[in-house]
């Protein structure tokens, strides 16, 4: 199934902005609107939201789930014929690995669908660097009591995304 289209307007990186993705719909679709105000264009975002839905419920995902299930069955058959404990533990391992792959592929597809090219990536990295400088300059802004749990989560997400990028570069 093809979901590859280039979205020049799409500027939000869903998979990496963990916390932001969780509140994206609140920031974009809730909150107060004053009808004599104008709203900035959200063209890219609309496409992105629709596309994420297509990807999550894709045939590709179904096939991967089916694959996980089929392996599961085979291993259970084997275990009933031979050494049950040994194979039971093996089938658990296979099942988990397969499902992880399925989940990972969803993430990869979203990233693809977002149409993140090299330029976007670089821009995002610049953003992050900029935000870090800001944090150092004005720690009070991000460390309010209200943001404690959120910023904790952001920090861990960020560091993990950064390390994965480093390993890619290496």
């Amino acid at each position: 199934m093809s979901t590859t289209t280039t979205y020049n307007e799409a500027a939000v990186c869903v998979p990496r902005a963990g916390t932001l993705y969780d509140v994206l719909e609140l920031i974009l679709d809730r909150g107060m609107v004053i009808d004599i105000f104008v709203r900035v264009s959200l063209v890219g975002i609309e496409i992105l939201k629709i596309d994420a839905r297509i990807v999550v419920a894709s045939v590709d995902t179904y096939l991967r789930f089916a694959e996980v299930c089929n392996r599961l069955d085979l291993n259970e058959d084997a275990s009933s014929r031979t050494v049950p404990d040994l194979f039971a533990s093996m089938s658990r391992g296979v099942a988990t690995g397969g499902a992880r792959r399925a989940a990972k592929s969803i993430g990869g597809r979203v990233k693809e669908a977002v149409g993140m090219d090299e330029d976007d990536d670089r821009e995002d990295e610049d953003d992050e660097r900029f935000e870090e400088e800001e944090k150092e300059k004005a720690p009070a802004r991000k460390r309010g009591s209200g943001t404690r749990s959120t910023s904790r989560k952001t920090a861990s997400k960020k560091s993990s995304s950064r390390s994965s990028r480093h390993s890619k570069a290496a």
Binding site: A11, V12, C13, T19, L20, D22, V23, L24, E25, L26, I27, L28, D29, R30, G31, M32, V33, I34, D35, I36, F37, V38, R39, V40, S41, L42, G44, K49, A52, R53, V56, A57, V59, T61, Y62, L63, R64, F65, A66, V68, C69, N70, L72, D73, R92, A95, G98, A99, I106, D124, D127, F130, E134, R141, K142, G144, S145, G146, T147, T150
Partner: protein, 257 residues
Amino acid sequence: MASPPLYVYAVVNAGLALPPGLRGVGRPPVPVRLLPAGELAAVVSDVPPDLRARRRDLTGHQELLLALCAAAPVLPMRFGMVADGAGTVRRALDAAAPAHLATLERLDRRTEMNLKAMPAQDGVAALVRDDPAVRRLAADVRRRPSYEGNVRLGSAIAEGLARRAAQAADGVAQELAALADERVQGAEVPGCVLNTSYLLPRAQAERCRELVDRRAAELRDRVELRLTGPLPCYSFVPVEGSRVAAGAAPRPAVVRS
């Protein structure tokens, strides 16, 4: 002389002293200021050139509102609201002042917590064990392997995982509702089986998080629970902040995007 357009972040009580150094959208993030109008004030900034819904802009909007919320009750605006000048902002606030003041009072010392629930991706084995229909499909596919059969099986698994997750999440949602003053069902989010926001006294936020942490661990093989907050009360402000005033204020001609 026409005043320049303004990005509007929030409506607050006029008495609020803005913490110093607050910044908003744009790169570099632009400084924000208060625009008083009677008993209310709008938190505004200049509109950065080439404003779009970029990650950094969304983050700027969100971070500013979080900082404001820590200090005082806030009516958060939706991302991207731009007024064509200071006069327009003042007119909008004046026209809906009683409603805004009442909402600010209602939200005082309160916060929004958002709970999202997604199917646990590792639950395939448990689902196959417990769901006769899925087991039957799996047996069919094994007897007569086919592309269509696999798609049917995978689709049934995806549905089954979502169903189990929704059931598990429902109990947690009920428990949170008992702690909350109000709750609002959110829009459907791709991949989520539940998206609900709760309005809670600030003092309850930590308890809410502990509860969800506990349930997330217990229900790990069925559902992935994600609690976000404390948040600006996006879901508990009137959507059309000046609808009350429609007709009361002269409407300048604006181009809607």
